[in-house]
Subunit: 277 residues, 2 copies
Amino acid sequence: MELWVTEYQTPNLGFSCRVKATLRNEKTPFQHLAVVETEQFGRMLLLDGMVMTTDVDEYVYHEMITQVALNSHPHPEKVLIIGGGDGGALREVVNHPKVKKGTLVEIDERVIQAARDFFPALACSFDHPKAEVIVDDGVKFVKEHKNTFDVILVDSTEPVGPAVELFSQNFYRDVYEALCDDGMLVVQSESPFYNRDVIKMAFTGIKNVFPVCKLYLASIPTYPSGLWSFTVGSKKYDPEEVSFVYENPQLKYYSPEVHKAVFKLPPFVKKIVEGDE
Amino acid sequence: MELWVTEYQTPNLGFSCRVKATLRNEKTPFQHLAVVETEQFGRMLLLDGMVMTTDVDEYVYHEMITQVALNSHPHPEKVLIIGGGDGGALREVVNHPKVKKGTLVEIDERVIQAARDFFPALACSFDHPKAEVIVDDGVKFVKEHKNTFDVILVDSTEPVGPAVELFSQNFYRDVYEALCDDGMLVVQSESPFYNRDVIKMAFTGIKNVFPVCKLYLASIPTYPSGLWSFTVGSKKYDPEEVSFVYENPQLKYYSPEVHKAVFKLPPFVKKIVEGDE
């Protein structure tokens, strides 16, 4: 018998990986969660059938959702992650020398448990002395905090299911309030090839609230189209400027040079954020 | 009945598109050729089961294999394309204001015919006054020309089947001889995520022959991993420097700003070309 797992990245497009073993397959209170061992990418976490992370390429997403803000904010001491229950973004945050505390707020405790059980390279962050792990609704958590965080990272699924609120104008306003006077927000905002509407929604929503709003890109082979976008909202600092040269030879995708390059958008992406298409 | 076409991008990874119609399906003297109409990407050309080009994303590959050399060589008047029988790279070449003649040498006449029949937006280049289309073996053609071309572009399939010679040291030496004293070569060199050995082979082979050798990247959703590499060999000019600002609002991926950014390699890609892994 041959086992394959297929993500229908769009109704007309399938991405299939040969599977060695199914490690977990459950319905949580919030979503369907699966962990499979694949030949191509090692262990793979899927939520509602969408690939969230894999052993082989997790570094791109986790470095790129964190390091750009961590290295353009001059003092990212208090950092909040909404979602990101696998622990990968938290790992990058707590290992950054300028961070004093990294708080993770994940709505689904079963995601955290799956990471603890099957992704030790990500879940190691949960027990780091700088880490705080909270199981709660990120939307509610953000509302309850004012003027608290230097950086907020929204490491969510697609704007369906539990994540739909995380792409709303009201949420971006609450994030603005939860940030300090010079705070910075980064959200994952999907593929410029397949999800132009999501990018427009996130970009417009953030631009309406934050004085500085910019998009940057990274290449993630297990995400639809292989090209992913992140949107930054900033109260003060320009995220294109590296404030601090973080010489970390462990990083495999991020470097100060890459930091600057990822904001140089191809014209078709520029048009999406400039509202020309 | 549901029709899907699947490219096994690796033995453990399938990329599947829903198909509306099969337009051509034949064994040519050189390879298997298929043209299908897909829901996601419009028309798609496959050679030996590998996606070569599609209506929807062809612009990325065709702009990026051509414009970097065309805009860093100060006088790209005579340009040779080896392979590229779909006509897309030739379109970019003949439309560039500095080019006087674009010569396409494709080994498989049936690829040219498929483009004429099904990809009018690419095949329009064949009848351009600056275009010359030759059905011949590119390896032989290059051997027969000395000191002739300003730019040579190798728009080949993977290093299997008819393209295997196009990744050899001897071929790169013949290309060097076919170029003028300040000539520039660009080859497609596969995915940094899945084809590290191909990149190493192309990069080392070109570096052994050309004084300047650099790699750059572009995001192509229908190619394996979505991230593709191109290797430049140059006798004189630095391909990172834009010599000429080509203000063409038709281009959707390339811009002078993108030109500079695509050479800023993530550390894991730098390691491949520096031979550290």
